[in-house]
């Protein structure tokens, strides 16, 4: 299947693996694909997410809130006069995006991180979306359609929670990749 992937879609997968590793995940899940898409930044998938104002920093916070155990509690910190957003800005300026969301900095696992069940499903669905649209490649737009269609993973959930309308996002992506193919 990967031989059908565009350069941008390959970059998403590579980046998703890095995200999974950085977040100490045992396998690649839908949220890593979503973050990978936003961070790699190329192709219609990332374009559609940007158009809907999906903010990587906010999505990271939401993902960390679900995956992490004890969440950082901005309101409680505010009672002490600590502005968590300010702390976050400072640490990310020095250590990169999501630096504060990693709960342990023990060395990450080396080597290959496998795709989880849901992420595999997303890849299958993106192939199906590509075929359905009569395309012979899988681009980031098809990957995003796969993420939307899978619908049950953390990626879809954090998108919805941050106010992105999945049906509208889907329409956007299809419009983008159709005009690209034309």
């Amino acid at each position: 299947m990967f031989e059908r992937f565009t350069k941008e879609a390959r970059a998403v997968v590579v980046r998703a693996q890095e995200e999974a590793r950085r977040l100490r995940a045992p396998f690649i899940d839908t949220e890593h694909l979503l973050l990978g898409m936003l961070e790699a930044g190329g192709g219609p998938g990332a374009q559609a997410l940007r158009d809907r104002e999906a903010d990587p920093a906010e999505l990271r916070r939401r993902i960390a809130g679900v995956v992490g155990g004890d969440d950082l509690d901005p309101d409680a910190l505010a009672t002490l006069g600590i502005d968590l957003d300010e702390v976050r800005r400072a640490t990310e300026a020095a250590f990169g995006p999501g630096a504060l969301d990693v709960r342990s900095h023990k060395p990450p696992r080396q080597g290959h991180i496998p795709f989880g069940r849901r992420a595999k499903k997303v890849l299958e669905l993106s192939l199906r979306e590509s075929l359905r649209l009569g395309h012979n490649h899988i681009g980031t737009g098809h990957l995003l359609l796969g993420l939307i269609r899978e619908g049950e993973g953390l990626a879809a959930r954090v998108l919805v929670d941050s106010g992105v309308e999945l049906a509208a996002l889907r329409d956007d992506v299809i419009r983008l990749i159709s005009s690209e193919a034309a």
């Binding site: 509690d73 309101d75 409680a76 910190l77 009672t79 002490l80 006069g81 502005d83 702390v87």
Partner: protein, 77 residues
């Protein structure tokens, strides 16, 4: 954080629920910052002993908490 101001005023309240929640939040923040800084120090080649001195804990404690058996930078010190 629009309700931050109101919450900040609550800091002066003597409600244990507010105060204890703040302590817990602060501890979690400190844990994350510690993990981040220790990781960075190790990446820069600091020994566990040097990190322990800065944190005011024993070398064993810091290694147990943050060590993970990585040997990219040579032997564990």
């Amino acid at each position: 954080m629009s309700d931050g101001v109101q919450l900040a005023q609550e800091a002066s309240s003597r409600d244990p629920a507010v105060g204890l929640r703040a302590v817990r939040a602060l501890r979690e923040l400190a844990e994350r910052l510690e993990a981040l800084q220790v990781g960075n120090a190790r990446d820069q080649g600091w020994s566990w002993q040097e990190i322990a001195v800065c944190l005011g804990v024993s070398r064993q404690a810091v290694h147990k908490k943050h060590g993970g058996g990585r040997r990219i930078l040579g032997k564990e010190r």
